[in-house]
C-alpha cells in the first residue's frame, strides 16, 4: 500500500439554497479544492463521489458523473458510492484505496446534497416485506425518535440529564459560530436550548440536526505527487469502512435479539477501531475528533464507545470544557452537524475538510492548538460506518 495525502480541500457553505442545483454546490467545492491543491481539473485522474438519493445524479445516484460533465468530460473513471449518510466517507475510502493501491495518483473525492424539507421520508414503497415500512406504518417512529430512545436509555443507565444534553448544543454553537461554512452561527444559552420545542422526548429542536444543503471536496494523491504539490501535506493514516453486526442490540428495525452486552453502533465502533489500528494511534492519543452528531446524544456516547474516555465520563468532560478545542478531548471543533445541519452524503467529506484545516493550523478561532492527529467518523442507513484518521 502506498502512502496517501490530502493536498486540497474545499467547501460550499451549508444552508438552504433554493436557486442552486446540487451540481452547482459541488462545482464550488471542487473548484476550491483544486485551487487549494494548486492543480487543474485536467490533473484529476479519477472521481470518487457520494451518491445522493435526494438530488441530482440523474435519479440513479450518478452525482459524480454530473460533476464530471459540469467541470468538463475528460473521460476519467467515476465511482459513485451509495452508503446512506456515510456515502461521502465511503467515497473517501474508495478514493483512498485507488491511490493507496497504485491505480491512480490524483483522485477527487466529492459529496454534495440538497435535502427536501422536513423529516427524511422512507422509500415511499408500501411493501409489507420492508421492515422500515412496517416500523413507520405500525408504530410511527421517524429518525429523531430513534435517537430519543438511545438518549433516554443513557439517562437511565448513566444518569445523563436533559441539561447536559442541552449543554452539548450550547458548546457546539459556541464553536460553530466561528465557522464561516456553518449554517447556524449564533450562540444559544442553556435556557434557550431547553425552551426549544420538544421533538421527541427527551430531545429538543436545538439538540437535533436539521437537514441542509451543502457540498465538500478533497484532492487526495500519492506521496510522490504530494511532494510536488506541497511542503505541508496531511497524511491519511487510516481509512476504514464497516457494516453493523447482527447482534449489536440497537432498535433499528421492528425487532432484534437482546444483546449480551450494551447496545451500540457496531458499524461506527468497528470502522473507528480499524482506522485507528491502521494508523497505529490509541483512542486517547487523538488531538481532535469530528463525529456524526445527528443529535447531542452522540457527542457523549461515541467517545465512550470508542475508548476516547471511560463510560459515563463524557458528561463531566463536557461540563469541564474538555471537549472544546482547547480541552483535552476536543470534539467537533467545526461545530458539527448541530451547527451545519445534515447535507447527508456531503458530511463525510466536510469532516475531511475540517480535519485538514485543523492539522494545517488554519482553523482560526476554532483551532485545536498543536493538532497533529484527528479522527473523522460517519454512519448511514443500512448499517454503514466509516472512519478516517488524518495526521500531520
Amino acid at each position: 500500500m502506498r502512502d496517501v495525502a490530502v493536498v486540497g480541500v474545499g467547501m460550499h457553505p451549508w444552508g438552504k439554497f433554493a436557486d442552486k442545483s446540487v451540481t452547482e454546490l459541488c462545482r464550488d467545492a471542487v473548484v476550491a479544492a483544486l485551487a487549494d491543491a494548486g492543480i487543474g481539473w485536467r490533473d484529476v485522474e479519477a472521481v470518487a463521489a457520494a451518491s445522493s438519493r435526494f438530488s441530482g445524479g440523474k435519479g440513479w445516484g450518478l452525482n459524480g458523473n454530473d460533476v464530471v460533465e459540469d467541470l468538463g468530460s475528460t473521460g476519467v473513471p467515476v465511482y459513485n458510492m451509495s452508503a446512506g449518510c456515510a456515502a461521502g466517507a465511503n467515497a473517501f475510502n474508495v478514493g483512498y484505496s485507488l491511490v493507496a493501491g497504485g491505480m491512480h495518483d490524483v483522485v477527487m473525492v466529492v459529496g454534495g446534497e440538497k435535502m427536501p424539507k422536513g423529516f427524511i421520508q422512507t422509500s415511499g414503497v408500501e411493501d409489507v416485506n420492508d421492515p422500515e415500512y412496517l416500523r413507520q406504518r405500525c408504530v410511527g417512529m421517524p429518525g429523531p425518535s430513534f435517537w430519543a430512545l438511545l438518549a433516554r436509555h443513557r439517562m437511565a443507565e448513566l444518569g445523563t440529564t436533559e441539561e447536559t444534553y442541552a449543554q452539548v448544543a450550547v458548546k457546539a454553537h459556541r464553536i460553530g459560530k466561528h465557522n464561516e461554512y456553518a449554517r447556524f452561527r449564533q450562540e444559544f444559552t442553556l435556557e434557550q436550548v431547553l425552551e426549544s420545542a420538544m421533538v421527541s422526548d427527551p430531545l429538543r429542536l436545538y439538540e437535533i440536526c436539521p437537514v441542509s444543503d451543502g457540498a465538500a471536496a478533497a484532492v487526495i494523491c500519492s506521496a510522490e505527487a504530494a511532494r510536488r504539490l506541497t511542503s505541508d501535506p496531511v497524511w491519511v493514516a487510516g481509512s476504514a469502512v464497516a457494516t453493523a453486526r447482527f447482534d449489536d442490540g440497537l432498535p433499528r428495525g421492528l425487532a432484534g435479539i437482546v444483546p449480551d452486552g450494551p447496545a451500540h453502533h457496531s458499524e461506527a465502533a468497528a470502522a473507528v477501531a480499524k482506522a485507528l489500528d491502521q494508523a497505529g494511534v490509541e483512542p486517547t492519543d487523538l488531538d481532535l475528533t469530528e463525529l456524526q452528531d445527528n443529535t447531542v446524544y452522540y457527542e457523549l456516547a461515541f467517545p465512550e464507545e470508542w475508548g476516547l474516555c471511560k463510560p459515563g465520563e463524557a458528561d463531566q468532560l463536557l461540563h469541564a470544557g474538555e471537549t472544546m478545542p482547547t480541552g483535552r478531548m476536543p470534539i467537533n471543533p467545526s461545530g458539527g452537524f448541530i451547527c451545519f445541519g445534515e447535507a447527508t452524503t456531503a458530511q463525510g467529506v466536510f469532516q475531511i475538510c475540517e480535519l485538514t484545516w485543523q492539522l494545517r493550523g488554519q482553523a482560526g478561532e476554532r483551532q485545536v492548538p498543536g493538532a497533529r492527529v484527528g479522527l473523522a467518523q460517519s454512519l448511514g442507513l443500512g448499517g454503514n460506518g466509516a472512519a478516517v484518521v488524518l495526521k500531520k
Binding site: R137, C138, G140, M141, M155, S200, F246, P251, G256, P259
Partner: protein, 139 residues
C-alpha cells in the same frame, strides 16, 4: 360505538385467545427470534438456516421509551387532531427486543419497568373502523 377492528398490517400479531402475541419465527438450530417472521436464519454464527413459526410475548421489560411529540410523516397513520403518543423499546422475556407504541391513556413507561403486549387502535377511520397494531401496557 366502535366499528370493526382491522390490523394496520395483516399477519403480525394476534389476540384471538385474549392474550396478545407477536407472530414471528425462530431458528430451529440456534434459537434466534425473528419479528416479523423470517424464513431463513440470518445469524452470522449459524450455519443452518431453517426457521419455524413462533409467537412472542406478552411480558417484557422496558429498555427505553420516548414520546413522539410531532406527527410522523407517511406512511405512519394516526388520529386527527394529532395527539402525541409514547414509544417504547421492550425486551420481551422470550428474547426479542421490539419497538412499539405505548397504549394510549395508560401510565407512563419507565426504563426497567414491566409491560405486556396488547393490541389496540392506532387510528380510527371516519366510518369507525379501528386500525390496530401491537402496543405495550404498563403492568
Amino acid at each position: 360505538m366502535s366499528g370493526p377492528r382491522v390490523p394496520a398490517v395483516e399477519g403480525l400479531f394476534t389476540d384471538d385467545d385474549g392474550v396478545a402475541r407477536l407472530l414471528g419465527s425462530r431458528c430451529a438450530t440456534c434459537g434466534t427470534p425473528y419479528f416479523p417472521a423470517s424464513s431463513l436464519c440470518h445469524h452470522p454464527d449459524c450455519d443452518d438456516s431453517a426457521t419455524e413459526d413462533a409467537s412472542f410475548g406478552p411480558s417484557g421489560t422496558v429498555w427505553s421509551y420516548s414520546v413522539q411529540n410531532y406527527p410522523p410523516p407517511a406512511p405512519a397513520i394516526y388520529d386527527e387532531p394529532y395527539e402525541p403518543y409514547a414509544l417504547a423499546v421492550v425486551d420481551l422475556d422470550d428474547g426479542l427486543r421490539v419497538v412499539g407504541r405505548m397504549e394510549p391513556g395508560g401510565s407512563a413507561p419507565e426504563v426497567g419497568g414491566r409491560v405486556e403486549v396488547v393490541v389496540g387502535p392506532i387510528r380510527t377511520d371516519d366510518d369507525g373502523t379501528e386500525r390496530t397494531s401491537w402496543m405495550f401496557r404498563t403492568v
